[in-house]
């Protein structure tokens, strides 16, 4: 246990140093663009995993919250200017949290795949409405030219903003996960009946985790709106929800930093492989397949492996 905590410390330091130093190494705009996306998707995956990695409840509709965050920020900034950008990111989180209370109320009564499919259905419904409600959302043409907030209006300064917000958000999620509340969540994942016998309310704990998860997913979405200033309804689509599930599992769903690592691998692979070959799907498929077969706890188990090597 002690060792584990020490490992997490090192994780935080490495995480911060790597992403901070990127900003000072005179990177190209493209490197920063990719790093920004890694941070944003990393936060999204970490937030998603607060529910999945502990309780085992698999939401196939988390794109709903990510998209909501992106669209609230994007649409309001488009109408009222970049000054409201940062407040809108947080407002997006709060609105998302409120929506998630309503959805959680309906979905969390369900278990297993039924929960998964109900979350999917809601997200797809919102996706459909976003496409159809052209005059309000811009339909499937999306929203273009979303300005970044003042003070953070260049790609590199905006990166710093993302880094700060993502770092703080992830710290907060970490605190939640390692609190007694997080312990209960993990208990639910192992044996929900035992938690009930201990006199605790499974449903209420899951709902609370779902709401926190939705809040931070929307924060990630809001930040995403500023990276390229271009957002689209496919942020709500099931492929987006699916992407975050794959990232999380690939990285390692039982470890706090697993989802971030998964997001890093996904985004870098997508960038590098697609640039090289038209048959990227085959190449990425083979890489993913090998990872599943050889890294039974996700890519993060590579780190354990290195640690074990050092000890012996």
């Amino acid at each position: 246990m002690m060792n584990n905590i020490k490992g997490q410390y090192i994780g935080w330091i490495v995480f911060f140093i790597v992403f901070m130093s990127l900003a000072f190494l005179n990177p190209t705009e493209h490197t920063i663009n990719i790093a920004s996306k890694i941070l944003v998707m990393g936060l999204f995956a970490t937030a998603f995993n607060l529910l999945f990695g502990t309780t085992g409840l698999l939401s196939f509709g988390h794109a709903l919250f990510f998209g909501l965050g992106a669209y609230i920020t994007g649409m309001v900034v488009k109408s009222y200017g970049a000054e409201v950008f940062i407040p809108m990111v947080f407002l997006g989180g709060i609105i998302s949290a409120i929506v998630s209370i309503l959805l959680g109320f309906l979905c969390l009564r369900l278990t297993g795949v039924y929960f998964t499919m109900l979350t999917l259905a809601f997200a797809q419904l919102v996706w459909g409405i976003t496409i159809k409600w052209y005059n309000f959302t811009g339909g499937d043409d999306g929203i273009q030219g979303i300005e970044r907030p003042p003070l953070f209006d260049t790609f590199s300064s905006y990166y710093i903003l993302i880094l700060i917000v993502v770092f703080i958000s992830m710290l907060l999620i970490y605190i939640v996960r390692s609190s007694p509340f997080g312990m209960v969540l993990r208990g639910i994942g192992q044996n929900p009946k035992r938690i009930t016998f201990l006199g605790m309310n499974v449903y209420r704990h899951c709902l609370f985790a779902y709401v926190i998860s939705a809040f931070f997913s929307a924060i990630a979405g809001g930040l995403f709106a500023g990276i390229d200033g271009s957002i689209h309804p496919n942020l709500f689509f099931w492929t987006q929800s699916g992407g975050v599930i794959l990232m999380t599992i690939l990285g390692g769903l039982n470890s706090f930093f697993g989802p971030l690592i998964g997001a890093t691998i996904f985004i870098i692979l997508e960038d590098v492989v697609i640039r090289q070959t038209e048959y990227w799907s085959f190449v990425i498929g083979v890489i993913m397949l090998s990872a599943v077969i050889f890294l039974p706890k996700g890519v993060i188990s590579l780190l354990d492996f290195i640690q074990r090597l050092r000890k012996t």
């Binding site: 039924y114 259905a121 599992i249 769903l253 993913m288 397949l289 039974p296």
Partner: protein, 288 residues
Amino acid sequence: MEIYISQFIGGLSVAMLLFLVASGLSLIFGVANIFNFAHGSFYLLGSYIAYQTISLFPNFWIGLITATIGAGLIGAILEFIFLKRLYGRVNEGPFQILLTYSFILILDDAVKFIWGPEYKTIVKPDILEGSFVIGSIFIPKYNVFIIIVGIAIALLAWYVLNKTKAGMIVRASSLDRTMVGLLGVNVSMVMTAVFGIATALGGLAGAMAAPLRTVTPGAGIEVIIDSLIVVVLGGLGNFWGALLGALIIGEVNAFGILWIPQWASLLSFAIMIIVLIFKPQGLFSKSR
């Protein structure tokens, strides 16, 4: 009145094709409790294998057979080499998602590499060309064929799963593989066989859908969500449930198109929300 009859019959054939495509998933996911995200890719493979066969031997029925066997064999081999390694692992379910998703990526590209990006087509056999006409209602013969095959598969699956020893073993394996193994059954072979049969059903559906749809790379991933809806709506582990799920989706869409055409494309999800809110375990909920 006639319009309702013709919409109803149209909805019926939509439903049967949906059921046919979803039947393999219902078996592997619903009954054997293994998630196969790549079900649509076997559907896609079925279309292409049938196309390839028919362009060599111009006979539709041979195409159906090779598609079924081909997709089933590839499925069984993939299960034997890869999926097998996941059984019993911590987080087995999540890794099934990831592994079968990598199948999608690989198979979709393989199809494009082998057969090119152009759209392919399979022509219906002569015997199934044309329609039965009753008054002003048209019922294409091919749709009748699909309805018959769909019902046959549902009956066969019900019989095998509930009335035979093999079916019992499969159902028992989905609950506790170790236990069934201890009883002296070769669970490993059972799983390979079930996966093979499920993907064979996917291949059959792909070949049968090809004369009505477009055979193109990427068509596989498009059927997976619809199939999932059908399987879950009825309640896992139940072919009759899947059939009912498909019927509801097919018919609600058929009449939705008539009355609220502008919202028709969202109806499937609306149905799923309504059903799951009132029946949290699907329509034929079975305690599992």
